[in-house]
């Protein structure tokens, strides 16, 4: 470890073997403490413990870890490594994707001036250092513009998924729109004709000019295209979010209004000043179609379709065994008991059916011995009732008879009709 410190302390050249070894040793050191570094990156900070204090102190020496400042005995990752990890794992820090390009552009001019002076004064080593610094600065700017555009593009494509509220999303959108404007200004500055004229003014500047064109000028049109693309997405997002916000606001307001006014109902259509077009919505018409079996050209298709229809599961026919004739039991003779009045009425009707001359019911019934004790008025009433009921039923015994009611008014004013006899005979 001490060797590593000594080696890095010496500085060394960028291409020298020692420097290469230093870098390898440094990366190995980082690897050795990889879990601690990961903990610090993911958790934001790590506390000093007996187990990790040696590693923490070692990392602190290389500025990989710094005291937290907020808590005692706590350490966090140095910003350089933290930024590197952010970039590797595409972790976005809000509002961090910005750079002060104006300063960097000014630095480029200064480096060109210093390069020129070193050349004029014959300081070749310094000239090389300035060229190398110019190359690094240009490359860094190119990387930054590239990375910045890529990150903003991802943020916009994700609809600013890194923040949760609408206001935040809209604020970020506004911020990045203004940032895009700044990048646009930067790109214009990078294309500054005066600066390009300086680089092209002398053959001595040729190496600077080559580097600048390769890393900046040749990429400008590509960056502009991405910039335009992002700006249009940002503007579209802003427009969309405003519309969505408006719709959501309206629905929430309506919900609130309905809660406060439980009795509210939309009015009838005619009560509004006009009926909007959407209200004439058709509720739909059911459509059914049947195949035209008379069309020969579709018969084959229909047959094919019919073949595709799975046949119904055949229901097994029940085989019935031959039965045995069972003879009916002897018909049970039921004796219908009739009352003497019913028997006399039936006999009267039969007698009337056999007679062509009217047969007096009163006389016939009076001659029946079984009715001797019954009031003739009652038997006559029973006969009339039988005739009425059987007439409605269309009874054969009555259908063929001419029946006459022998009446005389008891009293014209009472409205009653006095039936004193009935005569019946076979209809002519």
């Amino acid at each position: 470890m001490n060797e590593l410190i000594e080696a890095t302390g010496k500085g060394g050249t960028r291409t020298g073997n020692q420097s290469h070894d230093d870098i390898v040793a440094y990366i190995e050191m980082l690897y050795k403490d990889r879990h601690l570094i990961a903990d610090a990156y993911c958790g934001g900070t790590v506390g000093l413990t007996e187990q990790n204090q040696k590693s923490v102190r070692r990392l602190q020496q290389f500025r990989v870890m710094r005291p937290d400042g907020m808590r005692e005995e706590s350490f966090r990752l140095g910003s350089t490594l933290s930024k590197h990890l952010d970039e590797v794992f595409q972790r976005f820090r809000n509002y961090t994707v910005s750079s002060n390009f104006a300063d960097q552009i000014y630095r480029l001019s200064t480096l060109v001036e210093e390069f020129s002076k070193a050349r004029d004064e014959g300081r070749t080593d310094d000239q090389e250092i300035y060229l190398s610094d110019f190359d690094a600065a240009v490359f860094e700017m190119s990387e930054e513009v590239d990375g910045l555009l890529m990150r903003v593009r991802m943020l916009t494509d994700n609809n600013f998924a890194n923040v949760q509220t609408y206001k935040e999303k809209l604020r970020q959108n506004d911020y990045y729109l203004s940032l895009m404007k700044k990048i646009d200004d930067t790109l214009t500055a990078l294309q500054n004709r005066d600066f390009l004229d300086v680089l092209e003014s002398s053959l001595a500047f040729e190496p600077l000019n080559t580097v600048y064109y390769r890393h900046i000028v040749d990429r400008l049109s590509g960056w502009r295209a991405i910039l335009l693309d992002i700006t249009s997405v940002l503007k579209a997002f802003l427009d969309k979010e405003r519309k969505i916000g408006q719709v959501a606001k309206r629905i929430r307001s309506m919900g609130l209004f309905l809660q406060k006014n439980p009795g509210y109902q939309p009015r009838d259509a005619e009560e509004y000043p006009y009926i909007p077009d959407w209200a004439y919505l058709s509720s739909g018409i059911a459509i059914t179609a049947s195949p035209d079996l008379s069309r020969d050209e579709i018969s084959e298709g229909l047959i094919d379709t019919a073949r595709t229809i799975p046949s119904l599961n055949a229901v097994p026919r029940k085989v019935r065994s031959v039965g045995v004739l069972i003879e009916d039991d002897a018909v049970e003779v039921v004796e219908i008991k009739v009352t003497p009045v019913e028997a006399a009425i039936i006999n009267y009707l039969k007698a009337a059916n056999d007679s062509e001359k009217p047969v007096s019911a009163r006389e016939f019934l009076a001659s029946t011995p079984a009715l001797a004790t019954i009031d003739p008025k009652i038997t006559l009433l029973c006969l009339m009732s039988t005739i009425d009921s059987r007439k409605n039923a269309g009874a054969p015994l009555i259908d063929g008879l001419t029946i006459t009611r022998m009446t005389e008014p008891e009293d014209v004013r009472s409205g009653n009709v006095l039936v004193w006899d009935i005569s019946a005979c076979k209809r002519a």
Binding site: N158, N159, A161, N162, Q164, T165, Y166, K167, K169, K243, I244, G245, V247, A248, K249, R250, I251, R252, S253, M254, G255, L256, F257, L258, Y264, Q265, P266, R267, D268, A269, E270, Y272, P273, I275, P276, D277, W278, A279, Y280, L281, S282, S283, G284, I285, A286, I287
Partner: protein, 206 residues
């Protein structure tokens, strides 16, 4: 394509990117729109679209007789169904914590929604209110079944399309944009103010 589009439109369906993507693309072309409209005019119907062309639908061309009957029926339907629909849309926005949640194409994941509702008594109450309003009775008395019934109801009414039956994931159709226009009209003419204090503080998902 023409045949399928016209059949769906005549049967009263809304055509949007979620319910019938190719049909929506076809109708987005002005010439095709005119072609379908001309066809529908022959049976006294006309082709209409929502404000942002998220959905196409059919209205009556004859505004005197059939059209008026349809408009009356629609307002009667609104009387019965506006309240539950608004409550449902508000519930979805609240559970998703996203105003964008009720835009056409946005997903409604039953499991995710239920988890959020279960952890928040106020949302649980809101769910039960929507269930009451939509008469979505849970046989087993569970909130989960209530939510399922509610989603099924709005699916049957064409506001949602079930895109993953196994995982019970739905997507809002273009018909919600139609509802948004209806709400805008009612708010304008029934003097309903746009109070929305919770808007700025409301959290939204990614």
């Amino acid at each position: 394509m023409f045949n399928r589009i016209v059949t769906q439109l005549i049967s009263g369906k809304f055509i949007c990117k979620v319910s019938f993507h190719d049909g929506h693309t076809y109708l987005s072309d002005a010439d095709n729109f005119a072609k379908v409209d001309a066809y529908l005019r022959q049976i006294d119907l006309r082709l209409a679209k929502t404000g942002s062309e998220m959905a196409f639908f059919v209205t009556h061309a004859d505004l005197d007789d059939q059209g008026k009957k349809a408009a009356k029926a629609l307002f009667v339907d609104l009387k019965n169904n506006l309240r539950p629909l608004i409550s449902f849309l508000d519930l979805v926005m609240r559970t998703a914590r996203d105003d964008n949640a009720i835009s056409p194409g946005e997903k409604v994941e039953t499991n995710k929604m239920m988890n959020i509702i279960a952890q928040n008594p106020s949302l649980t109450e809101a769910l039960r209110m929507v269930a009451n309003q939509t008469k979505s009775i849970a046989v087993d008395g569970s909130d989960r079944q209530r939510l399922e019934r509610i989603l099924k109801k709005f699916k049957n009414e064409g506001y949602l399309e079930e895109v993953n039956k196994e995982e019970e994931i739905f997507q809002f159709t273009g018909k919600v944009e139609y509802v948004q226009e209806v709400i805008g009209f009612l708010m304008q003419h029934d003097q309903i103010s746009q109070e929305d204090e919770a808007f700025d503080a409301r959290k939204v998902s990614a």
